[in-house]
Structure formats: structure tokens, C-alpha cells
Amino acid sequence: MAALLFFGALREASTGLPREIDLPEGVHTVSDLCAWLSARAPALGAALHAPGVRFAIDQRFAGPDADLRGAREIACMSALSGG
């Protein structure tokens, strides 16, 4: 079971989705998870492909090919806007 976190505009677009998941069959990477989420929530799918979207696994930045298996916390983040 992994916590699924959304930040920024993605948080709004992910309303109604679970905040904890067991990785579904066939979902091994960040890209796989995006495809799985997009199929369930088309509005979130569009937001996940917006410029600047980043991901973190267990509080470390992760690329699209990063392996999610064993992750305790998966974060999907809209474009960061600090400063």
C-alpha cells in the first residue's frame, strides 16, 4: 500500500481518487501509473501531461521510468512555483 499525494493543480484535478493504493496489476513505473490514473480520471490525465509536472517516490524526485514497486509514498506535482 502506498500513499498517493497530489500537489498544486493536480490536487484539484484528482478529487475523488484514492489517497492510498495497492499498485494495480501491470503498473510498475511512474509512466504506468500516469496511464492508469488517466484512464480513470480524464481531467487528471490532461493535467498530468501539462508542462513542468514532476514526480517523487518516497520524497525523492523520480523520472517517468522510475520503479514504483515497494514505494511507500508517491507524489504527483504540478509545475513547481517557488520564489
Binding site: P51, Q59, L80, G82
Partner: protein, 163 residues
């Protein structure tokens, strides 16, 4: 007189409280009279953004991750301009127009590395610090994203940090 350690000092503070930039800079520079140059930048919450009034700003963060990501940026910049002291103070939560959001400062022997370090800190914070700005105005709220220029400036620095 305190000599600068080779690595310099890195101070990062991420908190919701309003702060006084002048007092923070005075504390940062205290006892560092081996340094001849203090450069700083303060980012404020604007009352107008893109021609539209801003009545409030909510700054979301990712507890734990945000602190570590900002520390990583500060250490990268300190390493690039060593020896140098680096300070980043950044708020989250509800911010009112006119209040400071961020303070970035660098304390060095001379001005050139101090100016350059502050510029690099701010450019990297814009695109690599896990904060999300949600501006509220008379017509509703909107998420703020970095501009193409912001992205290009950060990318140029990344090339210099990790050749």
C-alpha cells in the same frame, strides 16, 4: 574576526510566519566580518499580477520534501561559489499582498560571487522548489506556473552545476 569556513554556511528556513527581511539579514551577517559583501533578494506578494488584482496568495508545500529540496538547492549554490554563506527563507501558507514570500542572501568576501549566488538561488527556487502558488483575485483563483523565461534561466544554471 571570523574566517569563512571553506564550505561556508547554509541556512534554510521554511515556515508559515511572516518575517522581517532586514532583521533576518542582520542575524545572517552577524559575526561574519571576514566577509565584505552581502547580497540579497526579497520576493513580495504582489497586489496586482498580470493586470489583475491579487487579494491573497496561498502557498502550498510538501512537508519534509520541500525543506530537503530547498536545502539541496542552497548546498548546490554554496558549492558552486565556495567559500560563501547562503541563506534561504521561504514562507508557505496564507500570504497577504505586500508581505515577503522569500528571502535569498549570500555573504562572501567580494561582491561578484554574492550577486551571482543570489541570482542562481532565485532562478532555481522558481522552478525546482516544491511550492505551489494559488492566487486569489476578484474573479476567482488560479495556479501560478513558472514562465518560459523562468524555465530557461533555471536550465542554464543546471548546466553550470552539473556539467
Amino acid at each position: 574576526m571570523t574566517a569563512m569556513a571553506q564550505e561556508g554556511r547554509v541556512r534554510v528556513q521554511i515556515s508559515p510566519e511572516p518575517f522581517d527581511p532586514a532583521a533576518a539579514l542582520t542575524a545572517f551577517a552577524a559575526g561574519r566580518d571576514g566577509c565584505g559583501a552581502l547580497a540579497s533578494f526579497v520576493g513580495y506578494c504582489r497586489a496586482v499580477s498580470g493586470g489583475v488584482a491579487v487579494t491573497g496568495l496561498a502557498l502550498e508545500h510538501y512537508p519534509g520534501f520541500t525543506e530537503r529540496a530547498v536545502e539541496a538547492i542552497a548546498h548546490d549554490v554554496a558549492g558552486r561559489f565556495a567559500p560563501i554563506d547562503v541563506l534561504v527563507r521561504h514562507r508557505y501558507g496564507e500570504i497577504r499582498p505586500g508581505e515577503p514570500i522569500v528571502l535569498a542572501a549570500a555573504l562572501s568576501v567580494s561582491r561578484a560571487p554574492a550577486f551571482a549566488a543570489v541570482e542562481m538561488l532565485m532562478d532555481l527556487l522558481k522552478t525546482d522548489a516544491p511550492f505551489w502558488k494559488h492566487e486569489t483575485g476578484p474573479d476567482g483563483a488560479r495556479w501560478v506556473a513558472p514562465t518560459a523565461e523562468d524555465r530557461a534561466r533555471a536550465e542554464a544554471h543546471r548546466g553550470r552545476l552539473r556539467p
